[in-house]
């Protein structure tokens, strides 16, 4: 599976990964070998697209190519099938500051959002960011 396949699927609202036919575990984003046992006996599958926030940070000082988007909140989400992915939380900054550490453990659903690419990004046409929509906010 190519890296663009993962992002193209995200834009269609799907999170795709691989199921290992040897050990049964899931790998996402895609990889040449199973993230658990290094087997190459992998099958492309659609994952639930749901998970929980395990950690996050709001970035105020962004690198060249990303400054227009700051501040933005990067998070690591553990998908229900086990893999972790990096993306952004789609809440306003003030809301994220108010919630603080309480955001850890919040359930999210994953979708893709398109941003302009930058000179050093591998996809020269567009840059897709996994976005995390927080469910059941009080």
């Amino acid at each position: 599976m190519r890296f663009v396949d993962f992002f193209n699927a995200l834009l269609e609202g799907k999170v795709i990964g691989q199921k290992c036919l040897d050990c049964g575990s899931y790998t996402c984003p895609p990889k040449a070998t199973c993230d658990n046992c290094a087997s190459r006996n992998l099958e492309a599958v659609e994952l639930s697209g749901k998970g929980v926030i395990r950690t996050f940070t709001t970035t105020y000082v962004a690198p060249s190519g990303y400054t227009e988007e700051a501040p933005y909140t990067v998070a690591m989400v553990e998908l229900d099938e086990g893999p972790w992915i990096v993306g952004r939380i789609d809440l306003p900054n003030e809301e994220i500051e108010r919630l603080g550490q309480d955001l850890i453990g919040a359930r999210v659903s994953v979708y893709g959002k398109e941003f302009p690419t930058e000179p050093f990004y591998p996809d020269k046409k567009r840059r897709v960011v996994p976005m995390f929509k927080v469910e059941g906010l009080r």
Binding site: F7, R54, T55, T57, Y60, V86, Q101
Partner: protein
């Protein structure tokens, strides 16, 4: 394998050097090391040079040949090593292994980098080339961001209120700035030596919960060392410092390491490899120069290297265990936070500080009765990890 020793070390003052090129910085550090090594230029058989982002900061690649030619070593094998912030530690380890294997007798090693002069935007983007270039950078993950993710996960996992952890992280910055302020080679020499915890907590937010003073600065600088087979070194210098053990390990992106990002497994592996080679345990180490690119990074490092239990490193800082008069002085040269972090030069600058301490030449902040010291250099989000154990005792 033969025993290996350091003959001489050198480093430029760390800070802002808009008037010195990557070549100028390396050459300045090299000749300081050369002058104390009691050898002739023709004795040096190879150059191991570390640089991370010369292409982005200076538009310059293929650097090792230019370095060798500049210092009068035209024609010798010259190799550039790139392992992000651990570049020159990788170079040092490969150089030591080549000498140990008997392939070379005397080699030069070092690094240079110019991040301060490059400016914050280019510098931040250049450093961010060390995160996963497809799946992490797309979200705009930065290096402060990586360790901010780790800080929040650390607080959650070990059930420490975030504000309490932030205070203990701030103590790392206070300590390292105190030591950096008295190190004449440090970027913050004479500055920030009397920081308070509140100053760190209240400085500008960079990537929550890390503030500006939780972060090491952008730095220009160079470093160098000359190493030789121990039998040769003993004939050349009064106090050879022996390379007792080295270790190296690797990892993929943060999302592949999952909750292990607060346990730094590659560092655990690299440190264990170094201890095994040195036939030592953490108890044999008198002090360490650790990769404190961010305050939380120093805490995680002391745990992963085996000095403290997981989740306890923050209390060691709070209780003064890692201060100069504590049981395990950490970063007596100011670390990356106080001394500065010219990425590709950092690893060998840690070797510089350890060698000076072991020779009793680190007058500004001496570690009492230091006989064995250790370096720890982290490249990327744990993608490249190197540990080096140095001692005044051969075996």
């Amino acid at each position: 394998m033969r025993d290996v020793a350091v003959l001489g070390v050198g480093m430029t003052k760390f800070g802002k050097h808009p008037d010195k090129s990557l070549v100028d910085l390396f050459a300045e550090a090299f000749f300081e090391a050369f002058e104390e090594s009691n050898i002739e230029l023709k004795d040096i058989q190879a150059l191991y040079y570390g640089n991370f982002v010369g292409e982005m900061t200076d538009g310059s690649g293929n650097l090792s040949g230019f370095m060798a030619d500049e210092i009068g070593l035209r024609g010798i094998p010259a190799i550039r090593y790139e392992g992000a912030c651990a570049s020159s530690s990788v170079a040092f380890r490969e150089a030591a292994r080549a000498v140990a294997a008997g392939y070379y007798d005397i080699v030069a090693v070092g690094g240079s980098e110019r991040l301060y002069t490059a400016g914050t935007e280019i510098g931040t983007r250049a450093l961010a080339t060390a995160v996963d270039g497809v799946y992490e950078i797309t979200a705009g993950l930065t290096f402060p961001g990586v360790f901010a993710l780790a800080a929040r996960l650390y607080a959650k996992t070990y059930e420490i209120p975030l504000e309490e952890l932030r205070e203990m992280m701030a103590m790392v910055s206070v300590k390292n700035h105190k030591y950096g302020a008295i190190n004449p080679k440090a970027q913050f020499y004479g500055k920030l030596g009397d920081l308070k915890v509140e100053d760190v907590l209240n400085s500008r937010m960079i990537s929550s919960p890390l503030t500006l003073l939780d972060c090491c600065p952008m730095t220009d600088g160079g470093s160098a060392a000359i190493i030789a087979a121990a039998d040769i070194a003993e004939d050349l210098v009064d106090t050879p410092v022996y390379v007792r053990g080295t270790g190296q390990s690797s990892a993929g992106g943060l999302f592949r390491q999952k909750e292990d990002i607060i346990r730094a497994i590659p560092r655990k592996k690299a440190a264990e490899m170094a201890f095994k080679e040195a036939k030592m345990t953490p108890k044999d180490i008198d002090f360490v120069e650790i990769h404190d690119c961010f305050t939380i990074a120093e805490i995680i490092a002391t745990e992963a290297m085996g000095f403290f239990e997981y989740g306890q490193g923050c209390y060691a800082v709070r209780d003064g265990v890692t201060s100069i008069d504590g049981d395990l002085p950490v970063n007596p040269d100011g670390g990356l936070i106080g001394k500065g972090h010219p990425v590709g030069a950092t690893g060998v600058s840690q070797v510089y500080s350890v060698v000076k301490q072991l020779r009793g030449e680190f007058k500004e902040n001496p570690v009492k009765n230091a006989e064995t010291g250790m370096t720890d250099t982290l490249g990327g989000d744990f993608g490249t990890l190197v540990n080096i154990i140095l001692s005044i005792h051969r075996r």
